[in-house]
Every structure is written in C-alpha cells, then in structure tokens.
Symmetry: C2
Subunit: 127 residues, 2 copies
DNA sequence: TCAAGAATAAGAATCGTTCCTAAAAATCAA
DNA sequence: TTGATTTTTAGGAACGATTCTTATTCTTGA
C-alpha cells in the first residue's frame, strides 16, 4: 500500500456513488497527494480492477468509469446526461440458455440505458 | 447509395459472422473500391448504426465491432481470443425490476464473457 | 548498508476515432 | 443544360483516453 494507492483509494471514497472517470479520480487523488501522476492513477485503478477491489464500467462513446462499490449490482446509463445509476443485483435477472457446453461462461455485464427523471423533465443535458 | 457506402455494405457481407472492426471493414471495402478512405468507412458505419442497418458492439479494451445481422440476438466475447459469438435472442432473458417509475428504460445491452472451446483446450490465444 | 526489485512522475507514444479542408459528386432550380 | 447549393469524399491532421518509456525514487531484506 503506497501513498499513491492510498490517494486513489481515498479519491474513490470521496467520489461516493458518482462512478468517476480516471480523470476525475486523478483530480480527487491530487487533493490527497498533489504530486500524483495521471499514469499512476491509471495503473493503480487497473490493478485494483484486476484484483477485484474496484469495478470498471464501460460506457459507449466515453471514458471508462470506476466503482469502488463491488457489491453485486448493475448499472443504468442515462443517455441524456451520462450519469450512471445503480441497480441492486436482486433486481436484475439474466439467463442465457443453449450455450454450447464446451463454452465456459465467465460472467455477464448488463448495461441498461435510460432517460433519468431530470432528463425526461428538462430535456437532454449536455453530452 | 454512393459507391463508397456500397463498398462498406459489401465488406460487411464479406465479413459474414466475424463481427469485424472498422479497420477490418476498411480492408475488405478496399477490395471493392481501392480508393476508399478509412474516415469514409467510419462515417458510413456510424450512419448505418444510427439508421439501424448495422449494430455496433462495444468491447472492453478494444475497438468497436460491427454486425450487419440486425436480427435480435446478443453476443458473447471470448476473453481468450477476442472472438465474438452470437446468441439467439430467445436464449437470453433479462429482467430488471424496481426501476423508479420516473426513469424510462430505453434498452439493455448484455455482453457475456466466456472462454470458447478453442481457448479452453489450447490456452489463451493472443490479446 | 547495500543491492535488487517495485513503484513512481513526467511526458512521449499509441490506438481508435473524429474532425478539417479542399475537391468531387449529386441534387435541384430555372 | 447551366449554374448554384448541398452532400460526400480522400487524405491527413487532430483528438481523447489510455498505455508505455525512462530515469528516478522508494522498499525490502540479506
């Protein structure tokens, strides 16, 4: 646990449920450790994703987002404003049948798209 | 329907079920129209995605893939070799419950990850 | 205490993709 | 048909996100 990794961990904590991009994590981490480099943030985030401490969320036409909440849950992306919302795992059911038996399924990523309440009311916000 | 779009359409037909990247479509399109430019391929693909003639498949850590088969089906990505396999729609079931009613769900993308038969037998191939 | 390995800062390089510009082609109006 | 307007294109520069390189700074432990 280096000071840099600690800064990334703290940044993710500070980000709360906002599903920040690497760039945002970098900005937050700098408050804890002003000398930290963007590359270091990317490297630590990637390692943490690999080790399962953090989840990487792929976004169409945008930078990856990161989630320190590794409890089982999935995400909905608002196509209006780009915000990502959480959905508890037990509210999502995915079933795939008739998969050839020599193919080993590893896992599913479900990304739902939505218009959030704000965007429905006030029209698409940026992005 | 310009000659360039025709070349892209033919390239996609040539690609069959291989879920090609834009770069691959470009290579195939060149056989039909050697002077076509990469930017033109990207532009035509994007238009066709927008108009619903073609499906864009997002891949973690890699270039987008394109699928001229717009029948309802989903995809599994082999994390060993990067190949994408089709799953018929009626073999996939996704359900999301307890979505706040002021949030309007648009659609789901399910990307499953697997180890395909080849990679299970012969170990991870590249990528 | 020193050597060997791991992690870092800084910025260059890379990759996939989009944008820009000038030229060519298609469309339309009279 | 002719000219004007619009659309599309080729080619390559530019871009954003991410990874890589290099030289330097920590760790670690014999």
């Amino acid at each position: 646990m280096t000071a840099q990794k600690m800064a990334v961990v703290n940044a993710l904590r500070d980000a709360g449920r906002t599903h920040p991009t690497a760039e945002t994590v970098y900005a937050l981490a700098k408050r804890h450790l002003p000398t930290i480099a963007l590359g270091t943030v990317y490297r630590n985030l990637s390692k943490m994703v690999e080790s399962g401490e953090v989840v990487r969320i792929l976004v169409p036409d945008g930078a990856d987002r990161f989630d320190a909440d590794i409890s089982d849950h999935m995400h909905i992306l608002c196509i209006g404003c780009g915000k990502i919302y959480d959905i508890e795992e037990n509210n999502v059911k995915v079933e795939i049948s008739n998969v050839p038996e020599d193919v080993q399924l590893i896992r599913f990523d479900v990304m739902a798209k939505c218009l959030c309440a704000d965007c429905k009311q006030h029209g698409l916000n940026k992005k």
